[in-house]
C-alpha cells in the first residue's frame, strides 16, 4: 500500500503501518466524535470545553455519559465517579497488553498507554502476538485514532444544532462491524469460542438489569477464568 517505502526509514514505515491499521477506527471515530460534539453543545458546554474533553479525557462512552448527565443537571462528583466505573474495563485492556510491551521504557509506556481505548486495544492485540510491537507502530495506531476523535468531536461541537446524522450512511455500524471482524481474528480454538460465547451471554444477562457497559467487566473476568480452568482440565486429561 505504501509504495514509496524504500526511501523511508524503518521507524517511519512502522509508524505508517500503525496509521494504516487505524483506518477502520478513524472511519468510526469521526462520526461518533461528531455525535458526541453535537450532544456536548446541547448539554451546555462551549465549543472549547467540548473539544477539551476529547483532548484530555479521550474516552468515548464516558464522554457521552458525562454530557448526558450534565444535560440532566448531574453533579461533578457523580460525573467523575461514573467515569471511573465505566473506564474500569481499561484495566483489563492495559493488563492484557503488558506481556507485549515489556521492552518499552517506563516514560514511553506512560505515554503510549494514554491512547488505549476499546478500539485501539482490539486492533493492536490482533497484531502484537504475531509480531512484537515497536514504539513507532503503536504510536501511529494511537495517534491517528486520537486525532480522528478530536477532529470528529470538534466539527460536531462547531456544527452544534445543525445535525447531520451519520447513521443515515450506516456509519454507526463502523465500530460494531470492526469488533465483529476483530473477534473472528481472535477465535483460534474451541476454548476461545466457548469463552467468547459465555462472555456474550453473561454480558447480555447483566445488560438486562443495568446499562450495557456495566456487564463488560464481570463477563470478561468470569468467562476468561472459565477458559483457564477448562484449558488446565484438558491439559491434565490429554495423553
Amino acid at each position: 500500500m505504501w509504495s514509496s517505502t524504500r526511501t523511508q526509514s524503518p521507524r517511519l514505515q512502522l509508524f505508517l503501518l500503525g496509521v494504516q491499521s487505524a483506518i477502520p477506527i478513524m472511519a468510526g471515530y469521526i462520526p461518533v466524535g461528531f455525535a458526541y460534539g453535537v450532544l456536548a453543545r446541547q448539554s451546555g458546554l462551549s465549543l472549547l470545553q467540548s473539544t477539551a474533553m476529547s483532548i484530555v479525557v479521550y474516552a468515548g462512552s464516558s464522554q457521552f455519559i458525562a454530557v448526558s448527565m450534565l444535560a440532566g443537571g448531574g453533579a461533578v462528583g457523580a460525573v467523575i465517579s461514573t467515569t471511573l466505573l465505566v473506564n474500569l474495563r481499561h484495566l483489563l485492556f492495559s493488563a492484557s497488553l503488558a506481556p507485549y510491551f515489556r521492552r518499552f521504557p517506563s516514560p514511553v509506556l506512560a505515554f503510549l498507554s494514554f491512547g488505549i481505548t476499546d478500539e485501539t486495544y482490539a486492533v493492536g492485540i490482533g497484531q502484537y502476538p504475531d509480531r512484537e510491537p515497536r514504539g513507532a507502530q503503536v504510536l501511529g495506531l494511537h495517534l491517528a485514532s486520537y486525532l480522528s476523535w478530536i477532529i470528529g468531536s470538534c466539527i460536531g461541537a462547531a456544527a452544534g444544532g445543525i445535525v447531520g446524522d451519520g447513521a443515515r450512511w450506516g456509519l454507526d455500524f463502523a465500530l460494531p462491524g470492526m469488533f465483529i471482524a476483530l473477534l473472528i481474528g481472535q477465535i483460534k480454538d474451541g476454548i476461545t469460542l466457548i469463552v467468547a460465547m459465555l462472555s456474550g451471554l453473561i454480558s447480555i444477562t447483566l445488560a438486562r438489569f443495568h446499562s450495557a457497559t456495566w456487564g463488560v467487566i464481570p463477563a470478561t473476568i468470569i468467562s476468561a477464568a472459565v477458559g483457564v480452568v477448562f484449558k488446565q482440565w484438558i491439559q491434565r486429561h490429554s495423553p
Partner: protein, 110 residues
C-alpha cells in the same frame, strides 16, 4: 458551564481514566507473571469483544430488551460482516460490507 467547575470535572475525569490505562501495564509489564495469569490474559480479548458486541447488536435500542427479529438492523448488518470476516479475514472489507448493508437498510426501511 463555568470554567472553574468545568476544570475540576475535566481534571477528575482525566485522573480516573488515565489511571485505569497506565497502572496495570506499568506494574504487570515489570513482573514475571505465572502461567495461569498469562492464560487468563490470553482469553481477555475474545471475552471483552463479545461482552461489548453482544448487547450492542442484540439490544440496540439501549432499553435492555433483546431484539432478535428482522426489525433489528444491527443484527441483519452483522450477518454479511461476519461472513466476510470469516472468508477474507480482511478488517476494512468486513467493516465496509457492514456499513453499506446498514446504509441500504436505512434507505429502504421495512
Amino acid at each position: 458551564m463555568d470554567s472553574k467547575t468545568f476544570a475540576l470535572m475535566l481534571g477528575g475525569m482525566f485522573l480516573v481514566t488515565y489511571a485505569s490505562r497506565v497502572l496495570p501495564i506499568m506494574v504487570l509489564s515489570r513482573l514475571r507473571m505465572p502461567q495461569w495469569l498469562l492464560n487468563w490474559l490470553s482469553f481477555v480479548p475474545a471475552a471483552v469483544l463479545t461482552a461489548l458486541l453482544a448487547p450492542a447488536i442484540l439490544m440496540p435500542d439501549g432499553s435492555g430488551d433483546l431484539i432478535l427479529g428482522l426489525n433489528n438492523q444491527y443484527l441483519i448488518a452483522s450477518i454479511p460482516t461476519l461472513v466476510m470476516a470469516i472468508r477474507t479475514r480482511n478488517l476494512i472489507l468486513s467493516v465496509a460490507v457492514g456499513v453499506v448493508t446498514m446504509a441500504i437498510l436505512r434507505y429502504y426501511p421495512g
